[in-house]
């Protein structure tokens, strides 16, 4: 497979995954506002968390004077100045797909193309807060449809494996980022701390659609320790960090037929170390070193893995001497 093609496939799924994650976060915020016992305290500042998760505070602050609902959502959904906005991710994803449309099933191309056309139409029409939930729903559904087509129609060859790596690496990194931002939040200042805390962690779980799976493991007792364990170490939940890293690793092993060659050694090592750490550490040990430290280092290691993938398979602009 051409390295340029592998690059497009890898970024195609990363971008679709990114868009879906953003939509989940916005949707959860919307509902948590409705259900929260302290709606006033949940106001504007909390919308800003989404900007923090996206990691583009500076761009946002430059563009808007204040973080109103509308501004935040506009920025996250449609702003082309936000490299992480949903429309941007899907525009790039669609360009990636277009560059490899002879490789991917036609159905898959059609799905991302109409996804893009629908979003584009929404971005051109005025919207109110009432429409946001529908738009998020659209993004989630289109993204799930996309993934479903991949699963149902693509042969498990190189193309699929590059897409697997992209998707799961993005998902792992995003899970860590979400947890990190929420862990950061100071809940002590709230009046009815217990309820706030409950809602807080409940939204976190919802934002990865993990609230139902969580209850099955931990009963409806929402504790930060358990949420962290679920997010980081659950081997069965498809959006946990452990699960995603395992998937990236499996895809790599399949791609290399189980061998480690000279050129793939550093990638193999990085993946193995990270997977082993997740196996070896208990949640107490992780929280003991500080959740923030751990999650930051996890995100950093994901980035390193991404760099090694790029190098190993000559992704991106390739210069061959």
């Amino acid at each position: 497979m051409l390295s340029r093609v592998a690059d497009s496939l890898y970024w195609l799924t990363r971008n679709v995954e990114r868009a879906e994650n953003n939509a989940r976060l916005i949707a959860v915020k919307l509902t948590s506002r409705l259900e929260n016992a302290n709606p006033i305290e949940e106001m504007n500042q909390n919308w800003y968390e989404l900007i923090e998760i996206s990691g583009f505070q500076e761009v946002f602050d430059q563009k808007y004077e204040r973080s109103s609902d509308h501004n935040v959502i506009e920025f996250l959904l449609f702003s082309m100045e936000n490299p992480n906005s949903i429309l941007n991710a899907i525009t790039i994803g669609r360009e990636n797909a277009r560059a490899v449309r002879e490789i991917i099933p036609n159905e898959l191309w059609e799905s991302i193309n109409s996804f893009y056309l629908k979003l584009k139409r929404h971005s051109h029409t005025p919207w109110t807060m009432d429409d946001v939930s529908d738009i998020c729903e659209l993004v989630k559904k289109e993204s799930l449809l996309f993934q479903g087509i991949v699963e149902a129609t693509m042969p498990r060859g190189d193309a699929y494996l590059f897409m697997e790596m992209g998707k799961h690496l993005e998902r792992a990194e995003k899970a860590a980022r979400i947890l990190d931002v929420y862990y950061h939040k100071d809940l002590e200042s709230y009046q009815n701390k217990e309820i706030v805390e409950y809602h807080h962690w409940w939204s976190v779980l919802q934002s990865v659609s993990g609230h139902e799976a969580y209850i099955k493991t931990y009963r409806p007792l929402i504790k930060s320790r358990n949420v962290a364990e679920f997010f980081i170490l659950n081997a069965e939940f498809p959006r946990s960090m452990m699960y995603c890293i395992q998937k990236v690793r499996n895809a790599f092993v399949a791609l290399e037929d189980g061998h480690v060659e000279h050129y793939s050694e550093s990638l193999a090592q990085e993946l193995e170390h990270l997977a082993n750490d997740l196996y070896d550490f208990s949640i107490e040990e992780i929280l003991g070193q500080g959740a923030h430290t751990f999650l930051q280092s996890f995100q950093h290691r994901c980035m390193t893995i991404g760099m090694h993938i790029t190098k190993t398979y000559y992704l991106g602009e390739v210069v061959i001497p």
């Binding site: 497979m1 191309w109 398979y313």
Partner: protein, 481 residues
């Protein structure tokens, strides 16, 4: 729906003697008369949105950012009866073979020039004649892998060749997509017909490419070289690559090492044997042609010269589809094949000859005059539709350099009904037929029917508001009817 339909002295491909459908169009004509205008309109919209959803678009560079547009699709097909098609097919294969022989000759012995059949200076001064590729022996001596020959029908209904496109003819993907949409949105129109299928064509296409590989390669690696996603014909490129199962590459994916071409894969370099390129000659190799080309592959021509890679269509084919050389194609057929041409040219005046120049200058208001270097309907004079000022301005251009112009009588292009919301309008059509070489010359059944949807307009190019129709070649022995 047909009440206001006018024949106006043109050859109508569906109706004859005023209103009666021709024999082979009768069942179709009856069928559309049964469907209500509202139903036709809603299906029409369904068809257009299908093209958009599938991203079957071309890029228009009218403003700074390229806009993606779908080619308007009209559901009235061009229906070709089997006997008519067989005759055409023979004529086109003959023409293809003669053009190919001409290309091999002008890049080798140049007998046709020595024998004075074609003036030498027209050939060697042609901007598409490349001395860089002279003397190269191509596999099977095939310079043309795919030709897209444009045909029109005159006022008597006779087919004539308008252009031989031997470089990068596009539109093949639309032939297929038109058929798919037709089958999906208007299935009942096929009821009374047995239409030749297009499905097996891609296996011919693939084996044709493989048969043109350098001799040394048994199981050749074939790629399609595209300028990239921003090229207006990118959809065509990716469709052909997908359907023939070959890799779609850009110049930056290829690299030359020791007189071999390689592609950059995720597992290192892989040797390439056949390149079906959709990049123009001038941009293929910055070391040989345009130095500023960023989409080409440095060193590619050297590999070609060494016989280590096949490039399809051959480099320098433009010398054979040049507008001035077109005039001589019937002579080529007589010279190389010793046969009489079966499909006629459109009469063409070469303004390099003084008598023809004088005639043309005296009759500008009746003629179509074209610059030999222009394509796609740009910079031409359509005499009958031009104002006296336009004619005078064009006359000046001609006099500056007469040998760069040709002139043709205004052909009364044949017409077919096209759907216009509440009625059918008679619109001019032409037909691009795809022919390819390889072990033997092969013609795609049908082709791309282009239609000038602007009423009265003669310009069918998609860049200038033209649309497309499905093209049906009927089976000789109909099955399932």
């Amino acid at each position: 729906m047909f009440n206001s339909y006018k024949i106006d002295g043109y050859f109508d491909e569906m109706l004859e003697n005023g209103k009666e459908p021709r024999g082979h169009c009768k069942p179709f004509h009856e069928k559309i008369n049964e469907v209500s205008p509202e139903e036709l309109q809603s299906r029409y919209e369904l068809a257009q949105s299908d093209f958009l959803r599938q991203g079957i678009t071309f890029t228009v560079y009218s403003d700074n950012e390229g806009t993606e547009r779908t080619m308007p699709f009209d559901f009235v097909p061009k229906i070709i009866p089997p006997e008519e098609w067989q005759e055409l097919e023979r004529g086109l294969m003959q023409r293809f073979d003669a053009l190919n022989a001409f290309l091999d000759d002008v890049y080798h012995e140049q007998n046709i020039l020595k024998d004075g059949i074609i003036p030498r200076d027209i050939v060697v001064n042609c901007q598409h004649f490349f001395h860089q590729v002279a003397g190269i022996d191509l596999p099977r001596r095939q310079h043309i892998f795919m030709a897209g020959i444009d045909l029109i029908r005159d006022d008597s209904g006779e087919y004539r060749v308008l252009e031989d496109n031997l470089r990068n003819p596009s539109g093949l993907s639309y032939v297929f997509q038109n058929r798919y949409v037709m089958r999906k949105v208007y299935p009942e129109f096929f009821n009374q017909y047995s239409v030749q299928s297009l499905e097996q064509q891609f296996s011919y296409l693939h084996s044709a490419m493989a048969s043109l590989a350098p001799e040394s390669s048994q199981n050749p690696t074939i790629v399609l070289l595209t300028p990239g996603v921003h090229n207006s014909a990118y959809y065509d490129h990716s469709f052909i690559a997908q359907r023939t199962g070959i890799e779609l590459v850009e110049g930056r994916d290829l690299v030359v090492r020791e007189r071999e071409v390689y592609m950059k894969t995720a597992r290192g370099l892989k040797k390439v044997d056949v390149i079906y390129r959709r990049i123009d000659d001038e941009f293929l190799d910055p070391l040989e042609f345009r130095e500023d080309s960023l989409i080409g592959v440095p060193g590619l021509i050297d590999v070609y010269r060494a016989g280590n890679v096949s490039i399809l269509n051959g480099i320098g084919n433009g010398v054979a589809d040049d507008k001035a050389i077109y005039h001589f194609v019937p002579d080529m057929i007589r010279y190389y094949l010793n046969e009489e041409p079966l499909v006629k040219n459109v009469d063409t005046y070469l303004l390099r000859y003084e008598d023809q120049l004088n005639y043309v200058l005296d009759h500008l208001s009746e003629l179509v005059v074209k610059h030999t270097n222009a394509s796609g309907g740009y910079n031409m004079l359509i005499g009958p539709h031009a104002t006296p000022e336009e004619i005078e301005a064009y006359r000046k251009q001609i006099l500056e350099n007469p040998s760069e112009f040709i002139a043709q009588p205004t052909i009364k292009l044949s017409r077919l009904p096209a759907f216009k919301e509440d009625r059918f309008a008679a619109c001019h059509v032409d037909l691009r037929v795809f022919i390819f070489g390889g072990e033997k010359t092969h013609v795609f059944p049908g082709g791309l029917t282009r239609v000038a949807l602007k009423e009265g307009s003669l310009v069918v190019n998609s860049s200038q508001g033209g649309g497309a129709k499905d093209t049906w070649v009927l089976e000789e022995n109909p099955i399932n009817v």
